[in-house]
């Protein structure tokens, strides 16, 4: 699983098509009080951990069933939950997403989910106004640990990313393999050195309105914090990554066609596990 739509999901009117990237970032996800049903007694786990961007810090419940919730302090519009730095697959856990619309938590059509790997998860549901959001874990499977959970209303990019030159996310990890061989040439060992995952996204023909109204907040957010991108949720649902920009802050550039702009973002991405 990478992108998962809620059961019976219908694209809201006025939303960009699902071939356009959905992006969760620090300007559109909520923060607030964090409550966990329980937390493993080991000092290496904390309920607050999934709410910060230190992916090496994790929350693990003491027992199942369990829940982890965010309370922003006011009603907010939500349409996504992103989860990363988790071990849901190896724990074999079953989880659900719920919103509190004011009268207790209710399902958003993302129930009894399971995953098969440690990749980031981008869960999309129809927009709702809620006072709290939570992830719940049934008592099926082992006890999970998770380092990154966010709820919010996703940025919808005005255009699709440019397709030529892209690399499927699953193949974007950079690894350098080196070898040791004997004087006589016999191979004795192979060494793997990780060099992260490098991704690039290019959008062409972004309108002046989109560039001036939406990009400032988006670029500010990704400059200071992580972001999660589902590059083409409909056609390439496996291409979800938890990213941070590398190098200089991206700048939109007028491409010479009326008032349209291009934007290129170079990012490094979290390598699962």
């Amino acid at each position: 699983m990478a992108v998962q739509f809620s059961s019976g999901y219908t694209l809201p009117g006025g939303d960009a098509p699902l071939t356009h990237a959905r992006i969760a970032h620090a300007e559109n996800w909520i923060s607030g009080a964090i409550l966990a049903s329980s937390t493993d007694a080991s000092e290496i786990y904390a309920a607050e951990a999934p709410g910060n961007s230190f992916l090496f810090e994790k929350w693990r419940p003491a027992a199942l069933p369990a829940s982890w919730s965010t309370w922003p302090g006011a009603a907010v519009d939500l349409d996504y939950c992103v989860i990363a730095a988790h071990n849901f697959a190896s724990a074999g856990v079953e989880f659900s997403i719920e919103l509190n619309l004011g009268a207790g938590f209710v399902s958003v059509g993302l129930d009894g989910l399971t995953v098969s790997d440690a990749a980031p998860i981008f869960l999309v549901f129809e927009p709702a106004t809620a006072i709290a959001a939570r992830v719940t874990f049934s008592d099926a499977g082992g006890i999970p640990a998770v380092g990154f959970v966010r709820f919010g209303r996703a940025l919808q990019m005005e255009q699709r990313t440019r397709f030529p030159g892209r690399t499927p996310f699953a193949l974007a990890a950079r690894r350098v393999m080196t070898g040791q061989q004997s004087v006589a040439g016999a191979p004795l060992a192979r060494t793997e050195i990780r060099q992260g995952m490098q991704l690039g996204f290019t959008w062409s023909n972004l309108s002046e309105d989109f560039v001036t109204a939406t990009l400032p907040g988006f670029l500010d957010a990704i400059e200071r914090d992580l972001f999660v991108i589902a590059e083409r949720p409909d056609t390439h649902p496996d291409d979800v990554a938890l990213c941070w920009i590398s190098g200089a802050r991206p700048r939109p550039v007028a491409n010479g066609a009326v008032d349209l702009h291009d934007l290129q973002i170079k990012a490094e991405a979290y390598v699962n596990g």
Partner: protein, 580 residues
């Protein structure tokens, strides 16, 4: 051979053991109140009740690198780890180094960044601030641990992604320095545990504070000492005042704050009894009285260093001494505080032994410098030695043609490095190596052996050094993949190298003693240095009839000599064996 995967991702974890108070802030016996401390001594608000509990283990890893299997909190702040290997000094032949060898060192660099204070702040939930908004990890940690950070135990754990920490190789060091370096860098400089024997304060005997209460003449047999307590002196033993050594049978407190010594011999140990003045220092002496080498070393380590006994495998030392140093007995007096490392170095040189910190076994090893007893491991260029790693160096300056061992010290208050201060000398000489057509000049090595009082031992020492170094010394550097990196310092290996040949051009298989082992984990290899041990010889027996004839193709059993023909040649014309 080590069981390692052919293809793997090496990972490095650094573990710092941070001292940690076992009390809870403000809970009895801690009487502190107000803003909580961090359970460290330098943030303690009730130092009288600070109780050192189990250390807090902080794990640091490289950002983006794989994890071990263990469920641990890893600070992704590790930037680099570099180590230099410990090196043994076989026979004390390298005069640039102590006979105790060269200590292993590690330099570790850390990144700094804002942090949640999780793990390091036991009262996180009680803080009125968000730690991420205040300072950075290392700057805060440095301040919170400013009293104890130097001297902390630092471990470098090396293994592979997904491997359990318990299965990784662990190298242990003591921090010389843990602190800040540059704008966003923390740094750790560490040395191996023998650092504890090299510390300036590690002296044998310890400095005695006592001083004569009043003047004494050259015949006094009872002396009164001020400015000292009973614990400063042994119940009976030897003391030194100025250049006179004297023995005593008892020391008691006199009820007035002074110590009374009952002197049994003035001017002992070949010194001269003389008058002394009030306030002259009264120094406790240390005496070896015919102890074995392992016993002597044990006393030095146990009584005069802070190295925990867990790292000192005395039983192994005893077994080695019992097997190979039975003739060696240590006798002698140390009359003034001397660095422990120097005393250990003297013992090792005089007894022809070596010691080093074994990073893998985490213990101080002890081996006699001896001929080869067990079949060495064979290493060749086809299966073991890494391409481009072999380097050879010749050390002509280590050649000796005459070895003189001075022993039976005259006066323990005089310099140990003067031949006149010894009654006797034994020497071994290889005049043939000084011939014009050989090396053309003598090469003399003197060993001042204040702990040797036996001519036979002195001769044995001189003979062992001469046998080993009469042609100088060769050192080789080579690298092995981690699969073969269980080879340890002190081990003997046979190296099959095409570059090392006999006069006819055939590969000459030499024996080498490993003198250092430097792990380069990220390259999955270990770099070794070794000294040519061929001239040290092999302890062998003459082949019985059942063994058959000499083959000379590597299939002949180890440690077996074959009778050569009347011309001194083996089948095929190879030169026969020599018995020394």
């Amino acid at each position: 051979m080590v069981d390692v995967p052919f293809s793997a991702e090496p990972i490095t974890i650094v573990r710092i053991e941070q001292p940690f108070c076992e009390n809870a802030h403000g809970a009895a016996p801690c009487t502190a109140d107000g803003e909580p401390c961090f359970n460290t001594r330098s943030t303690c608000q009730d130092p009288e009740n600070y109780i050192a509990g189990p250390t807090k283990k902080l794990y640091f890893g490289m950002p983006g690198e794989g994890r071990p299997a263990d469920d641990i909190y890893i600070f992704p702040l590790l930037r680099s780890v570099s180590t230099s290997a410990a090196r043994v000094n076989v026979s004390g032949a390298d005069k640039r180094a102590s006979p105790l060898g060269v200590r292993a060192r590690a330099t570790i660099q850390f990144r700094d960044m804002p942090h949640t204070d999780r793990i390091v702040d036991p009262y996180l939930s009680a803080r009125s601030y968000d730690p991420r908004d205040r300072g950075s990890f290392w700057s805060k940690w440095n301040e919170r641990n400013r009293f104890a950070r130097n001297g902390m135990i630092v471990s470098i754990l090396e293994g592979y992604a997904g491997q359990a920490l318990a299965d990784m190789t662990r190298r242990v060091y003591i921090a010389d320095l843990l602190g800040l370096s540059g704008a966003d860098v923390g740094v750790g400089k560490c040395r191996d545990r023998l650092l504890k024997a090299e510390a300036d304060k590690a002296q044998i005997p310890r400095v005695s504070q006592g001083e004569l209460h009043s003047d004494i003449d050259a015949t006094a047999t009872s002396i009164k000492v001020a400015a000292a307590v009973l614990d400063d002196y042994a119940a009976a033993g030897t003391i030194r005042i100025n250049d006179e050594v004297m023995t005593y049978s008892a020391v008691v407190e006199d009820g007035s704050g002074f110590l009374d010594f009952t002197i049994t011999a003035r001017g002992s140990d070949n010194t001269e009894a003389s008058d002394h003045d009030a306030e002259d220092q009264v120094q406790q002496c240390f005496r070896f009285e015919g102890v074995t080498v392992d016993q002597g070393l044990r006393t030095v380590y146990e009584d005069f260093t802070e190295i925990p006994a867990a790292f000192l495998p005395f039983d192994d030392w005893t077994a080695e001494a019992d097997s190979h140093l039975t003739a060696y007995r240590l006798t002698g007096l140390i009359s003034e505080p001397t660095a422990v490392k120097d005393i250990i170095g003297e013992i090792l040189e005089q007894a022809q032994a070596m010691q080093w910190w074994d990073e893998r076994a985490q213990e101080v090893r002890f081996l006699a410098v001896k001929p080869i007893f067990d079949p060495p491991r064979d290493l060749n260029e086809e299966e073991h030695i890494l391409a481009g790693s072999v380097k050879l160096r010749e050390f002509v300056d280590r050649r000796v043609s005459r070895v003189y061992v001075y022993f039976d010290q005259r006066d323990p208050t005089v310099s140990v490095d003067e031949g006149e201060n010894y009654r006797k000398m034994q020497g071994s000489v290889a005049l043939e190596m000084e011939a014009p057509e050989v090396f053309g000049e003598p090469a003399i090595r003197k060993v001042y052996a204040r702990f040797v009082d036996s001519a036979a031992v002195a001769l044995e020492t001189s003979a062992r050094i001469l046998a080993r170094y009469k042609e100088g010394s060769r050192e080789i550097t080579f690298a092995l993949s981690d699969r073969d990196a269980d080879l340890n310092v002190g081990e003997i290996v046979f190296l099959h190298l095409r570059r090392i040949q006999d006069a006819s051009g055939l590969v000459a298989v030499k024996s080498w003693i490993i003198t250092s082992r430097e792990v380069q984990h990220r390259q999955r290899r270990a770099v070794y240095t070794a000294e040519d041990a061929t001239l040290a010889g092999v302890v062998s027996s003459i082949a019985p009839d059942t063994v058959g004839d000499w083959q000379g193709d590597g299939s002949d059993p180890f440690g077996v000599l074959f009778i050569s023909d009347a011309a001194g040649l083996l089948p095929g014309g190879a030169p026969g064996f020599n018995i020394n």
